[in-house]
Amino acid sequence: MRLRELGRGSRRNALQRLGAAAALLTLGGCGRRDSPEGPLNFWAMGREAEVVAELLPAFHARHPDIRVHVQQLPWTAAHEKLLTAYAGDSLPDLCQLGNTWLPELTALDALEPLDQRVDASAIARDDYFAGILDTNVMPTPAGNRLFGVPWYVDTRVLFYRSDLLRAAGHPTPPQSWAEWLAAMRAIRQRDARSYGVLLPLNEPDPLFALALQQGALLSDDDTRGAFAQPPFRRALGFYAGIFAERLAPAMTNAQIANVWDEFARGLFAFYVSGPWNIGEFRRRLPRERQGDWATAPLPGPDGPGVSTAGGSSLVIFKRSQKKAAAWQLIEFLSDPATMQRFHALTGNLPPRRSAWRSPELAADVPSQAFASQLERVRAAPKLPEWERIFQEMQYAAARVVQRTQGIDAATTELDASVDALLEKRRWLRTRAAASPR
């Protein structure tokens, strides 16, 4: 299929095209087209893939004619598997997709727009948390289109030691940056062996959440970095200030052997983390500490702040020959009742407000911070290069924290490397503007 495109372009590019085409052939040597009668191929990742098998009998009861074949991908290999499968034309019919990967696969034009199917179904868009649904909306030449249906959500909130906070004279969790700093200072003052917060230096998410609260990180229609601009510098200043005051240990995840042990021991009072840690805290903290931890929405510069909009979506691939059946499975998995069952099995938080009305979720105290945070989440910039920029951002922040660079130098250098990464994007823009189709 892709070879056919060889004929179209100019001769000048013939060599590159040949090389590229051969590369595609080598990469995806074993491409395979499914017959329309075969089972529905569904790729899911990690634990979700195991659990989805338990949900399927209910689906089969409703749709006895659709057979589903679930294939489990490990998270660490999923990204490259998807891209090689794209190159080799062996993508499944539908897939669980981390919502930060949507821009990449939309750039490849691999995903099926779902707007019409959603509008014709019982899936109500306004039932979803707006920030989460927004991560699935991608700009296309024909306007904004919805390419995925959120399956479960992920965001970052504060986990904290309520006993330590109370003992330090702060009975309620902080809502603003100033309150947060005051609480951390009080904790450090009370006991010099404990830190205010753990912000692992290799984790970009906490800094990213703080930066989202301040404003745009890219400029010129997402073709240049804006990290040297005041919004990001304020976030980085606050982040690096926490380390400069020794309110956080300058450590990576690998240096902390066991986060839960250290949290139970009181090495730090705050931890910025995601929904999976509700379950982990219950499992791994000692029994006598179970009453001493709580969650709270992330503080913002002047009051409750926004956080990251993560999670996984369900997508249908454009080349699938069983889109109708795939959509029926998505509809089934998006049903509030199925979502509640899914939450009971995995602890994954549902993206639909109506699914949150289940007694288990409504009565679950640690989840409430997430419920309130999910009303205030903001999508990451939607471009394929974002994952990489995200990493670069954290390397720059680590340099500032370890004092090998100042904020000025680090953000200028970061902008330079981001601008270099986005050169292709700028070129594509100019080219598209020069030759309107």
Binding site: Q16, R17, A20, H79, A87, A107, T252, Q255, L428
Partner: protein, 295 residues
Amino acid sequence: MTRSGIVGWTLAAPALVVIAVFFALPVVIGLALSLTDFDLYALADLSTSRFVGLDNYLRLLQTPLFWQALGNTLYFVAVGVPLSIGLSLAAALLLNARVAKWQAFFRTALFAPVVTTVVAVAVIWRYLLHTRYGLVNHALATLGIDPIDWLGDPHWSMPAIILFATWKNFGYNMVILLAALQAVPRELYESARVDGAGTLRQFTDVTFPLLTPTLVMVGIMTVAGYFQLFAEPYVMTQGGPLRSTVSVLYFMYEEGFRWWNLGFASAVAFVLFLIIFTVSAGLWRFDRDPAASRP
């Protein structure tokens, strides 16, 4: 062409075709790819890939992470190769000693790591190297040494990888060196003893010269292999901590299959090829010693 020439070419043709299709062609395509900016966008629409000449190579030389990766790889090669070959030689000498018992058993036992799967034994090594529960730190503790965060501390991560790779690979070279040792004629040792040479002298003047060609061959293979360090950091550390175990090949893998910059990644591959080629060519020079003829 003569009749025998035709027959010869016909018989060689299948092999030549295989070499051309599966070796020469990919290399040429890789080279062509390294002159383009083939990336994710080009995967979707080939017309977006541009011919960039040597830009990828120039950019590579200005990428700090590449130099760090090269430094890490050189560290691994410079320490790992002598350590690995030294260990192989020591093990081979022990196994070749006349007083050694259960030679077959030890030969198999020492060779066993070579035939294990990297991924599986990496899991075991991660347990061994665990900061708090690992056997390695446990053993160090009995010597009064504080626990070392082998895979979490940027200073110790590469030594840990070197230890693992050496353990995994020394058996292979050991078997080759053992074969070479067994081929040394016993008479040479007898005459050396008659001339009054001690054990050390016998090793430096008889064993070592006769072993040189094998050692050079083993050295070249090991150097070429060690420059392509990938699986160990991929499984054990994912390049961390603080990128202290990112090797050139790991860097190439990330560029190519994580960020999908295939043009740039091909350039990395060619630079690595040139480095290995140069170093191997340098090693061949050691084999020019006229005194060292294959036993």
